[in-house]
Symmetry: C2
Subunit: 318 residues, 2 copies
């Protein structure tokens, strides 16, 4: 990360973990923060990114890829924010209590509980992330949320029609709502997967900038650098099935796919910046795409919303 | 229960409780079993009902009104059955990980995880209960389940069109699948609610017998005798909302509704038997509706399904 100039990372602290298990994952990060203070520290605000950049360190921001850690308890939204959570996906591939995942056959949109939870996330400053959610649920989340939302890691379906990639309709609505798309570098989301070229990736970014506006795009690498295949098995299967789900992989290719040659790990971010210049973005635009847009988004998203009248109606006797 | 000749009760051990909280509720029942062995004991099979009847006691069967206690873990289906659970609803009013509840605006049917869990419930002998589920989810559960399912407590919508009551389509499919309907005596499910007459109730049973066949109906009283209003608040609200949901009640009538005069508590079951005779059922039919049909259903539902080949496909290298 230091070699790649990465001042902030949005890390996954939950795929299917319950509240207690997610807290254990946070505690594991706390031990890393204690052991390596010269390299990393907990990120909570945009200013933490500026500090990391000044000090040559990396601010670690927590995200949950699922609503599993809040279980069935709306009170846990604020608790998780207090513990440092800054992004939470409303669903991960499957139907959740809040929204539908992109692998379900049907998408009924945001549930009764989902509507309540979106309002609470807006209130405390926990960003809705719809990366693994289905189309209708995503459009409804954009509509229902009073604050801009994010699709932190996905690509446009026009470039590579994976189930996880997003339609023009979603991308336009996301931008119109002030939201952010993070371009994924996970091979299953790339055209020609592990063999995707840097040129093709950067041309896709340019087309997406035309669609969404350059202010609404950034990187969301989905980088699983050096993680064991047990992590991908947990991601895909959790505890919900007795059968093995290979997700975007297959029985023959069950593990993490090989990264493209031009983005092997965190050291290669500069290559993407150069690639973006090569397809015609100017220096200021490249700086925004490589991190400036996310920083602006962090600045306005992680704080508490201005106070509004309490939603609970007064109780009248008759 | 003794005065009413009740040899078996299906009790609720969970509305929104997690696995651990449900286990605490089971432990609370274990303390009752220890304290009152002359009155109650744990019911696990149809034979336990026969034993209770012989000994003048009541067998207590555990049911969960929601899939909350299995959390996101298919392995908990068998664990819960081992702990005595015999019925589990796939959803309670809201969308769950498995199915849709009857209060959601949209019903996409059984989810990916739901399909897996139904097969596992079928395998271990845990009965699917769709009392609080929405129409399409209920029809799909009947279709997907390899064993008969139950709607343990609801009435036909043709008689009283509450959201919780069931359409002719559902009732016919339930009977065709070998399933059981338990008629509810909860006032919100009754025509004219607390003022419902015994005659009206028994005429409804007769019409339902014409629709479903007399073999597929029984009682499912939904009796909340002497429970405090905090229980109904928990049922309706769980932890999923910061607003108060009054369910079938209202702000002005938030608590448990008054029981009809002819079914105040467990002592009044004989009145229903007499009412059924009065609308034309013969003695044998009354015996079946008052408990015989449920006993047959218990006999064939709570044991393990015949072994089948493991579902997990073998792993091949290429």
């Amino acid at each position: 990360m230091r070699a790649g100039g990465v001042a902030a990372v949005h890390v996954t602290i939950c795929y299917h973990e319950t509240f207690r298990e997610t807290v254990a994952n946070i505690a594991a990060w706390n031990r890393r923060f204690e052991a390596y203070p010269d390299l990393i520290f907990p990120g909570r605000t945009g200013d933490d990114v500026r500090q990391a950049d000044r000090e040559g360190r990396t601010a670690i921001f927590f995200g949950a890829q699922n609503c599993a850690p809040m279980e069935d308890d709306i009170g846990l939204v604020e608790i998780l924010h207090t513990l440092g959570l800054r992004f939470m996906q409303l669903s991960y591939n499957n139907q959740s209590l809040l929204a539908t995942g992109c692998y379900e056959a049907e998408d009924p949109g945001i549930t009764r509980m989902g509507r309540q939870v979106i309002a609470e996330m807006n209130r405390v400053g926990l960003v809705l992330d719809m990366s693994h959610s289905a189309e209708r649920s995503t459009l409804e989340a954009i509509e229902l949320s009073s604050r801009p939302i994010a699709i932190t890691h996905a690509n446009p379906a026009f470039w590579h029609p994976a189930l996880r990639n997003k339609s023009d309709t979603v991308l336009k609505a996301l931008a119109e709502g002030g939201g952010m798309l993070g371009f994924s570098l996970y091979p299953h989301h790339l055209k020609h997967k592990s063999d995707c070229t840097l040129e093709s990736f950067c041309e896709m970014v340019a087309r997406t900038a035309d669609l969404m506006g350059v202010a609404h795009i950034g990187l969301g690498s989905d980088l699983c650098q050096d993680q064991p295949d047990s992590v991908v098995a947990w991601m895909r299967n959790g505890r919900w099935s007795k059968q093995t789900d290979y997700g975007e992989g297959s029985a023959a290719q069950a593990g993490f796919p090989r990264q493209p040659a031009w983005f092997r790990d965190n050291r290669d971010f500069a290559r993407i910046g150069a690639g973006l210049r090569a397809v015609g973005f100017d220096t200021a635009e490249v700086a925004r795409i490589m991190g400036g847009n996310w920083l602006t988004f962090f600045d306005r998203s992680f704080g508490r919303a201005p106070a509004v009248a309490a939603r609970e109606p007064a109780h009248h006797a008759g």
